[in-house]
Amino acid sequence: MDHLDQLENKSIYIIREAYYQYKNMAMLWSIGKDSTSLLWLVRKAFNGHVPFPVIHIDTTFKFPEMYEFRDKYAKEWGLNLIVAKNEDAINRGISYATHDAFTCAHELKTVALQQTMAKLGFKALLLGIRRDEHGIRAKERVFSPRSQDFKWNYQDQPAELWNQYKSKADEETHLRVHPLLHWTELDIWKYVKRENLPVNSLYFAKNGLRYRSLGCKPITNPMKSEADTVDKIIEELAVTKEAERSGRAMDKEQMYTMQKLRSLGYM
């Protein structure tokens, strides 16, 4: 069993474990490479089926290519797609032009998710976050509880032993389940190659620039790159000294932004 097989098998185990515990669940699909890989693994876990809804949190500030990709594969893979928007915040004019990235991320993403959860009452959410993306994500558990008001108690997390995870949660909480926590960015790209997995065209270099991590258009910057194929991206990542999220302005706005956002329920 090679490295990618090991990663894949562990992820499938986690996905099936979450589904066993919580039939009333959903997954978040940001249309990026990680959550698209997660969706692929979900299909593998359930014989080609996706037996729960797939939520796209739409800030309305995403790239046009992301909406196109979403609609194409939602149809092709027969997804039960839920598009979650915080209409109230959008009506109040919350936007990157007028508000800081922290406010936008919280209002347009976290609150939009809260509203959807309140309406549909999911008890567990699958998310495609990885430990190597950010120092605060490196501290996550595979099964990570959130309180009703979405708080993450990162100073007292449940124990996980071998492949035993926190299973039950009381009525008020939901569980964030992270089947890709043990993957790296490079693993994802090798998997994309091996599985011939569709990914958004924004990841591939055009005119010397490519997006390495996709977020909201106004606060996501491309990096200098000539990598216009999956193979070239894999070569590039093997030698790069740049951080994956260096094009994500939000992370750098101030110290501990990510920790604060996440403790309030951000992904």
């Binding site: 069993m1 090679d2 490295h3 990618l4 097989d5 090991q6 098998n9 499938i12 185990y13 099936r16 474990e17 589904y19 066993y20 692929w40 299909r43 593998k44 876990a45 359930f46 014989n47 080609g48 089926h49 430990r131 190597d132 950010h134 120092g135 605060i136 490196a138 501290k139 558990r141 990162y154 100073q155 997390q157 449940p158 124990a159 996980e160 032993l161 071998w162 492949n163 035993q164 926190k166 299973s167 039950k168 949660a169 009381d170 043990h182 790296t184 090798k190 599985e195 011939n196 790069t240 000294k241 740049e242 951080a243 260096s246 750098k252 110290m255 501990y256 920790q259």
Partner: protein, 416 residues
């Protein structure tokens, strides 16, 4: 062919330099993006402190303010030989649960000891926990040699004392290396200050660790994780914990005792038209969908075993347990016990011995209770039959957890 990652945990007493060693490994192997190093520089400057390697791991505001590691974290680094996942484990006794969470995933360990302070409470406790978790590959580093003027006598003194303890907990370190994580001695490069030491550097020692292999050559154990009905088929989903499963093989499900044959072993491949991929055989570590020839009533927790030489289920067994939760447990108190995907109601029938997990001393007179951080030799009674194995035979079915108040409160190893 992809190089496999080796999962490595770093343990030891508080302030003996775990996070600093990790920071040093990341920087010296060029595994840390410059932007993250710059970020830490900025943070340290804004706090008016010198550069802290530890901040590369200690990401929480609370960790940086209090200068401690609270939670376990994982980070990646690479040598010329292979890639590593390093698991940082907190050194405070109150965060033992996080230390165990980190260590349970590791294939190898570095135990770190401060040359100046010497062996402390958590040094001993962590060594014992590693041993209980079955982690045999360990390297010891005696850190902060710069603070004791790189003296060989001090190194030898600690080494001798530590070896006594490690022998007592049944651990044999591969190497004991004098280092200074802050100065970079014997981490990636040989130290110029320690000419009396001729062994490997930390990186050289790590590259000698062997990755864990799945238990393919042991008897088959395939616990059902869930039962699906997709496309008019009943699919028994799960992970093969040990051995191999083959089409046509005769199997017995335990604990129910139902017998059947394997009709198909499947995986789903999105690239294959129709998606299904029937395998002739699959082995330990693979997550498959099993289809059987008979229409049986099967649920999660039933374990497929070879019909010949089928094992026996039990309702009582001997175990060694480590208690992680703040609330302890008394004999005759009921709890949920989970072993692979099996779940049974159980209780501790008898406590043979309770140990202080650091000093290894038996706690005299304590016969009906186990408290946080204590290790106990017990007899467990289950209300329903369960299939368990000696940990040294099939580890995947020889370890279990105890659930109290919806959380994992303890881990255990079956000793039979």
């Amino acid at each position: 062919m992809d190089k496999n990652y080796l999962k490595l945990v770093i343990v030891g007493h508080v302030d003996h330099g775990k996070s600093t060693l990790i920071g040093r490994l990341l920087v010296d192997t060029g595994s840390m993006p410059q932007s993250k190093i710059d970020e830490v520089k900025t943070v340290c400057e804004s706090l008016g402190r010198p550069f802290e390697f530890a901040y590369l791991m200690d990401y929480m505001e609370e960790e940086r303010e209090k200068k401690i590691t609270i939670d376990t974290a994982q980070i990646f680094f690479k040598t010329e030989l292979r890639d590593y996942v390093i698991i940082d484990a907190p050194g405070h006794k109150e965060f033992l649960k996080n230390m165990i969470t980190g260590s349970a995933q590791a294939e190898g360990a570095i135990l770190i000891v401060d040359a100046n302070e010497g062996i402390k409470e958590q040094t001993k406790r962590h060594a014992y926990i590693l041993s209980l978790l079955g982690l045999k590959q360990i390297v010891v580093v005696i850190n902060k040699m710069d603070l004791v003027n790189y003296k060989e006598t001090r190194f030898e003194e600690i080494k001798k004392e530590l070896l006594n303890h490690l022998t007592a907990v049944n651990l044999t370190p591969k190497y004991i290396i004098p280092i200074s994580a802050s100065q970079g001695d014997n981490i990636a490069n040989k130290s110029e200050h320690i000419n009396w030491y001729s062994g490997p550097t930390v990186l050289q020692a790590l590259d000698l660790f062997q990755p864990m292999v799945a238990s393919e050559n042991l008897p088959l154990r395939f616990p059902i994780q869930d039962v699906y009905n997709f496309d008019n088929q009943t699919i028994l989903a799960g992970q093969i914990e040990s051995g191999a499963i083959t089409v046509g093989q005769e199997i017995i499900w335990l604990p129910s005792g139902q017998k059947t044959k394997v009709k198909a072993v499947t995986k789903w491949l999105p690239t294959v038209p129709g998606g299904g991929q029937d395998l002739k055989e699959s082995t330990a570590g693979h997550n498959i969908g099993l289809i059987i020839t008979d229409d049986l009533k099967l649920t999660r927790g039933e374990v497929a075993c070879p019909l010949e030489q089928a094992p026996k289920t039990v309702t009582q067994f001997k175990a060694r347990m480590f208690w992680m939760s703040a609330a302890g447990i008394k004999t005759d108190e009921k709890f949920l016990l989970k072993c692979a995907t099996q779940e049974v109601t159980a209780k501790i029938g008898n406590i043979n011995k309770v140990l202080n997990s650091s000093s290894l001393e038996t706690i005299a007179g304590q016969t009906d209770e186990i408290k946080e951080t204590e290790v106990a030799e017990v007899e467990i009674l289950t209300e329903q039959p369960i299939l368990v194995e000696d940990y040294n035979f099939i580890p995947e079915l020889g370890r279990f957890v105890i659930i109290k108040s919806e959380d994992i409160a303890a881990g255990g190893i079956v000793t039979k």
